[in-house]
């Protein structure tokens, strides 16, 4: 029997709203009644979408919440309630409880060498000499897999790659010999292969050091292989918790089901999103938080928060738990592969090369040394086809998309219906340009924050030469409805709608130009899991009904495989493999594409590693 390192009992957090003074009435509960255990040498996963309160829980344990937060309940660490300590005592505990944050670049001090940052915790807690702490830091950096650590000790964070920075952060947390390590979305923003390595590293360290690991993530598929225990949060409350293998074998709560069904996996035919949005703190429904979005909802659900049901292994707070329904069954319906007919290419890229960044300075930087970000790429896209471009960051996949949009200068030729844009007159060029539209990654960035939704879509129509007010209005409403939005949203500003809605508005704006091609540049990566699936479904519907061709760019091969007819794997600016989706997913020829495919979540392939086994 392993010892309990951390035990949360009825942990609750209230935070002041952003607007207005800190009044009692303005406090909103962001986390309520959380019970959780982390045991020695085990990984406990805390899973939830953004706004679920998962990060708040971690910061509450570390006592690092912004001033004005009200914390209730207990956080027992080695039998001692961390919430009852004064600040000085708490400071001594931090370190024994280590924390690794999301976004390692901003979490590291940019003007301090990594050696000093790694050594800082060790020196503070043991009073070791600078020399000893330095030696210790070299050992730690070696342990987390930084090659040649003694030499890199005096370098600064910006000299490391994203994955290495996260390794440095982990080393800095390890420096204080923590009994408990809290990792808050440590792999978000990293490439899938790197994320996998970081996760494996954490799992290994946790076993080697007999630490308890509290792993916070939005991605259930990520923790499937490593977690022993798990807790799913929704809108500030735990909906299901218990032993991870039992959970993945038989999830009970409708939200857990929905979350599992919403993540695209290789080999999956249907994606089920969750309609609606998570309620904000202060506007949460009485009773079950998930009830408004739940397909199983009955009247009793809204009366009181449901009591937990289940066995000794997993429990769910639900009145009507789901039983034997298997998760995201593979239905026989396979995506209709539209093989491009020869000679019918809508878009052709012929030996396109892009050498350096878009706006390299006249005075800054040497140009010759930089490797081309896109190297001799040739592609064809047929009418109505969806071509997926997959690759890691820096592979040139976004550059490729921007080249198709003529946002960059390139060598080689890009032809639309056999004609190059540069050969046309300025007027024709504008018209041709409208035939290729784009949906960007971050929906908030892609909508002008000071224009109303209606005006954003009307702009697209006006630039196409339409100016009749009534007709504009009618078309705007029709477009909003076509992407599944209420026409009443037209009067809102972008910051008054959710991220998923904003991304639909971006799709509607693209449709307004009546394009032949839409470039989808990581269209789902900024969205929550449940919203992602909804958008992917919408995109698939549109392509089937409108003869639209897509170029979908993503690092998520599973999402691409779900939508694309063919997939091009890009690495260091070159296409290493271009094949139909079926072929690439099942029989990749190139070793690099094989490793990408292997890192993606696959339907029914959940393998749980038990400590000691690996």
């Amino acid at each position: 029997m392993t010892g309990v390192v951390l035990s949360l009992r009825q942990l609750g957090v209230e935070l002041a709203g952003r607007d207005g003074p800190r009044l009692a009435s303005n406090m909103a509960p962001v986390l309520e009644g959380l019970d959780l255990e982390v045991r020695e040498g085990e990984m406990t996963a805390l899973v939830g979408e953004s706004g679920s309160g998962k990060t708040i829980a971690a910061l509450a344990v570390m006592r690092l919440l912004p001033p004005g937060a009200r914390i209730t309940g207990q956080a027992l660490f080695g039998g001692e309630d961390l919430l009852g300590l004064d600040e000085r005592q708490m400071r001594a505990r931090r370190g024994s409880v280590g924390m690794v944050f999301q976004n390692p670049l901003s979490a590291l001090n940019p003007s301090m060498t990594i050696g000093r940052q790694v050594a800082e915790g060790h020196r503070l807690h043991t009073g070791a000499s600078a020399q000893a702490a330095r030696r210790h830091a070299v050992d730690l950096l070696g342990e987390v897999g930084i090659p040649d650590p003694a030499r890199r000790l005096d370098e600064y964070p910006h000299q490391f790659s994203g994955g290495q920075r996260q390794r440095v952060m982990i080393a800095a947390a390890l420096a204080c010999n923590p009994k408990l390590l809290i990792a808050d979305e440590p792999t978000t923003g990293l490439d899938p292969l790197v994320a996998r390595q970081i996760l494996d590293l954490l799992a290994k360290l946790q076993r080697d050091h007999r630490m308890g690991l509290l792993f916070i993530t939005h991605d259930l598929s990520l923790v499937e292989r490593h977690a022993q225990r798990l807790c799913v949060l929704y809108a500030g409350r735990a909906v299901e918790w218990g032993e991870a293998p039992a959970f993945f074998a038989r999830p009970r709560h409708p939200y857990s089901h929905a979350l599992l069904a919403a993540v695209p996996r290789l080999g999956q035919a249907t994606l089920r999103g969750i309609a609606g949005t998570m309620p904000d703190p202060g506007h949460r429904p009485h009773g079950c938080r998930f009830a408004p979005r739940c397909p199983q909802r009955q009247d009793a659900c809204t009366r009181a928060y449901p009591p937990p049901v289940g066995d000794g292994r997993t429990q769910a707070a639900c009145l009507f738990p789901l039983g034997e329904i298997p998760v995201a069954a593979a239905l026989p319906e396979a995506p209709a592969a539209t093989t491009p007919l020869p000679g019918s290419a809508l878009l052709q890229m012929q030996s396109v090369t892009i050498r350096y960044g878009s706006r390299a300075g006249l005075l800054g930087g040497s140009k010759a040394a930089v490797a081309p970000s896109l190297d001799d790429v040739s592609l064809e896209l047929a009418r109505g086809e969806c071509l997926g471009i997959v690759g890691e960051s820096g592979s040139g996949k976004s550059t490729l998309g921007r080249a198709i949009l003529h946002m960059l200068r390139y060598e080689g030729r890009i032809l639309l219906d056999g004609r190059a844009l540069g050969d046309l007159s300025p007027g024709d060029r504008r018209r041709e340009r409208r035939r290729v539209q784009v949906v960007f990654q971050d929906p908030r960035e892609s909508l002008n924050p000071r224009l109303r939704i209606g005006a954003i879509i009307a702009e697209a129509l006006q630039l196409g030469g339409q100016h009749d007010r009534d007709s504009l209005r009618r078309q705007t409403d029709a477009l909003l409805e076509r992407v599944g939005l209420n026409a009443a949203l037209a009067g809102r500003l972008p910051n008054a709608i959710s991220g998923g809605q904003a991304q639909r508005v971006a799709v509607a704006r693209a449709l307004a130009a009546r394009p032949d091609i839409i470039v989808l540049d990581e269209p789902t990566s900024a969205l929550d899991v449940s919203t992602q699936a909804m958008l992917l479904n919408l995109l698939r519907d549109l392509s089937r009904h409108e003869q639209l061709a897509y170029v979908m760019i993503s690092h998520d091969i599973a999402a691409i495989a779900w939508l694309a007819d063919r997939i091009a794997v890009l690495r260091a600016g070159r296409i290493v493999e271009l094949a139909t989706t079926d072929q690439l997913v099942n029989h990749p020829r190139d070793p690099y594409s094989a490793s990408l495919v292997a890192s993606a979540p696959r339907l029914g392939a959940a393998t749980i590693t038990v400590p000691g086994e690996a």
Partner: protein
Amino acid sequence: MLDATQQPVRIGASSFLARLLQLRPGNATLTAGLVLAAIILLASAIGPVLYGRDPYALHTASVLAGPSAAYPFGTDDLGRNAFARLLVAGRSTLYVALPATAVAFVVGTLYGLASGLGPRLLDQALMRLLDAVLALPGLVVLIFFGAIVPLNTGSLILLLGLISWPSLARLVRNETLAQRDRDFVHASRQLGGGLAHIAGTHLLRVMAPVLVVNFTFLVGDMIFALSALSFLGLGVQPPHTSWGGLLQEGLELVALDAWWLVLPPGLMIFAAMLATSLIGQGLLARGGSR
């Protein structure tokens, strides 16, 4: 620490007045600034008419008299009514400073937009020129030109306006560069939007809060520059007067301890600059971090 999605969703736009009355950070500052600015504007615009005393009449019987019922702010060394002079001085100060701000604002914004949106080479050329211009302290250049051009209302407006735009131009240019690569601008270009469309529909609109704040700061800077110039005898020329000119007259008589000639014009400049600073700070605080 809270991500954006956790912010309560704001629905619709509440009226400006309703938002003003809420006690949000910055509102007290903004309100104080607006009230102060209104008082100064009113005093300068209709003050001289309401008070009705001749600011140029020489009351030789009461030269350098201290404040009294007849002369609330005393008289100067020629026996002129200091209060009446203070009111018309405000009028002529704002009469130059406000149009000059408009000139500087327009020139600076256009220069910045041209530099930020134009081709790389144009941007480089414009910025080198701007660096060189910015290396010259504005006031020094003003004094230089003040010495060589005939000074009247029109020339002062042009002089102040054409010398005070560079810092705004740099700001607009940097802001343009920051905004022009945002996704919604790219989306608009892809829809066929030209440079003028992008600048008008997107850039200026997104920059509007920044521009408004900087316009208020620019008004303050302009009042300061004109007052300093007048204080040095190179601004508003006699027989007209300005706050800076009054203060200079006061300083010349400082040995006679005529504090009533020093305090009121000085305080008026202080109040005007305080008002613009308060408005600017208030707007900044309300806008928050966007």
